[in-house]
Symmetry: C2
């Protein structure tokens, strides 16, 4: 493992997890790891770290850096002078446990068999993603994060982290997240999992699984994006004939969906998709406040449970951002997060943005998100990191 | 064929179409027919007929009658004293050409081969559905309909009928219809067709086609229903474990979707689904107003084209009903229909309803729809039909 704190401004690391790494639902992983990227410099007081949780399908590569100059998924938000200002903050981006970009997941080799886990990967929960990420934070010798920030699944993970590790982050920002998926989101994701999972479990040939993954991704994209945006961009425009995918039509919007789906299938492991999607549906922040005899997963927890869960949190500040056009994590869920945090005595900012990009807005609307996140982070006073050369000199003194 | 006008209050008929029946896209059908049900009595002046167009998946069985006492898809709206009052009106409900409930469609035998048409069924357009239905009207000896009414696809068909047969209906009511599908609706339906069509075209075994149909139906249901309704009805409630469908979870909302999907698969022919869904995406009312050299199907027609198409209509009155929560045929499309009709000089009522049922509201919210349709139909003065016994007596006199 590399020396910590890292000497290069941004690095890609594989952080080993405690082994066995016990999972919330009862399973365990032997010799597991998470892939991490960092941006900026950890301050001498180690008080300027931001832990970043991703959406379902993202890698740890949130921003370009010398070791990987390709654009990251939050390229416009992370860097010197950007919303997550790497002149001030040390950003730790983690590929979710269960994913397939360097972190242990279903595509990893199961040490018990020497074969990929596949369907044998133990049941994953959002809390496990939070705990594996916290292990990475521990490996940096950071006692307390300045903030934990997450989008979509990452917004759920932020809440899981806050309730699993009270006091380990001073502040949280939840962007288009949820305390628990609503029925429509569950219905959408469980259908995606059914399409992919029924073929995976039947041991279908790879082409059919890929076809199922393309369909699942298209369902996903249609749940993320705003309908007005589709209408403006594509309307009823026709593309060069490309049929053969079975629809019998050649509308531009179909071609765009196909492009996105093919890209996703090339990148994402089907079982990893299935496992993380399921974790999203099973997550329920309020379960952390439920009576211990209660079923912690699927039953409807009431506002009292959520308030009790929030009472465990030790946060100075919280920021909740919702997008009005988001149909997958709708604004009523965003308002509920803000209300619960605020009622528990945490100074909470609630910001509702309007964007035709809907649930995907955080990926594209950096001009909307930047001032909100910047002002939130400006109010967290942290020790400024030394300049790289002075920092390295300091280490060697 | 039965004698017309029918002597029983409500009947089920098979109406032969002119043969060959030429289709708008160039194909033709030999010996085709449409299945029709009627409710109420045709008045001596034959001026009290309402032609009813259905959504994608409905049969002609819109209401129960002595020959079929099961509930119809618009049971609460059709009957004595109901919105479509059969004491006053003679309602003609037609199973769409291309469907599978008695009308000629892909599941029908192709007289050229003696086998079901399947993928050889010629390209169908919404205009063909309108024209086949008008053939049924002609067979009753009705010169002019009091009104044509349709919901969803039926709303599109109402517009197609009005522009193909100017003056043959005095009035129209379009409920949750559209002048043309928007990009999101096209994306949703083309994905459903891709899932079903890719298997149909590959000649996949029936079990896989049925699985694909279930998935397509679930995508459809999720596009019809309001998300708040799902949340209220199901939330995160768990059902008896039923997994094995591959999602890995047992939420109540999944079980409900599965029930609807299985019911659909038992009833609906896959190729019929594919053919009619495609017709919906290809329909474009404005194409009827486009310059003849223009592509009449897929290019984006402007408001001028729509206005030119509307100028062909000969209607006394129009009613346009939209539902605010409808995501598949959203209210901006409803307003556009109302605006185009109104601008063309037709007295047009526009009514926007609020219902958590979204696109499906017309099937369930009869207390909302009844007063609107009743008041619309009240203003169409028609000759009242004789009472049944007097009517039959009159025929025999």
């Amino acid at each position: 493992m590399s020396a910590f704190p890292p000497e290069s401004p941004s690095v890609t690391l594989q952080v080993p997890l405690p082994s066995p790494f016990r999972l919330q639902a009862g399973g365990e992983l032997i010799g597991a790891q998470v892939a991490v990227e960092t941006y900026g410099h950890l301050s001498p007081a180690r008080d300027n770290a931001i832990l970043l949780f991703t959406g379902l399908s993202a890698s740890a590569h949130a921003a370009s850096h010398p070791g990987d100059t390709s654009s990251g998924w939050w390229e416009s938000m992370i860097g010197p002078g950007k919303a997550l200002d790497t002149d001030r903050y040390f950003v730790i981006s983690v590929n979710s446990l269960g994913s397939c970009f360097g972190s242990t997941g279903p595509a990893s080799l199961n040490p018990a068999t020497g074969q990929p886990y596949g369907g044998d990967f133990p049941e994953l929960r959002v809390e496990d993603i939070a705990r594996a990420s916290q292990a990475a934070v521990d490996s940096f010798g950071i006692d307390q994060l300045a903030a934990a920030i997450g989008c979509s699944l990452g917004g759920m993970t932020v809440l899981a982290h806050a309730v699993c590790f009270p006091g380990r982050a001073r502040a949280i920002a939840s962007i288009s997240g949820a305390m628990a998926a609503n029925a429509a989101a569950i219905a959408t994701r469980s259908l995606q999992r059914e399409i992919v999972g029924s073929l995976l479990k039947a041991g279908a040939e790879p082409e059919r699984v890929q076809q199922a993954m393309r369909w699942a991704r298209k369902i996903g994209v249609l749940s993320y994006v705003g309908t007005e945006l589709l209408e403006k961009r594509f309307g009823r425009d026709q593309t060069e004939p490309f049929s053969g995918h079975g629809s019998g039509t050649d509308f531009e919007v179909e071609s765009w969906l196909e492009h996105l789906a093919q890209k996703f299938v090339r990148q994402f492991d089907p079982w990893a998709y299935w496992v993380i999607s399921r974790a999203m549906d099973l997550f329920d922040f309020a379960a952390h406040g439920a009576a211990p005899e209660g079923d912690a997963v699927v039953h409807r927890h009431d506002a009292t449970d959520a308030a009790r869960a929030a009472a465990f949190l030790k946060l100075e500040r919280a920021l909740v951002i919702g997008v009005q056009e988001d149909r997958l994590f709708p604004v009523d869920q965003q308002r509920a997060i803000g209300a619960v945090l605020n009622a528990s005595g945490i100074t909470t900012d609630y910001v509702e943005l309007a964007s035709p990009y809907g649930h995907d807005a955080f990926l594209t609307e950096h001009t909307l998100f930047t001032p909100v996140l910047r002002s939130f982070l400006d109010e967290l006073r942290v020790a400024l990191p030394l300049a790289p050369s002075r920092f390295e000199a300091g280490l060697r003194r």
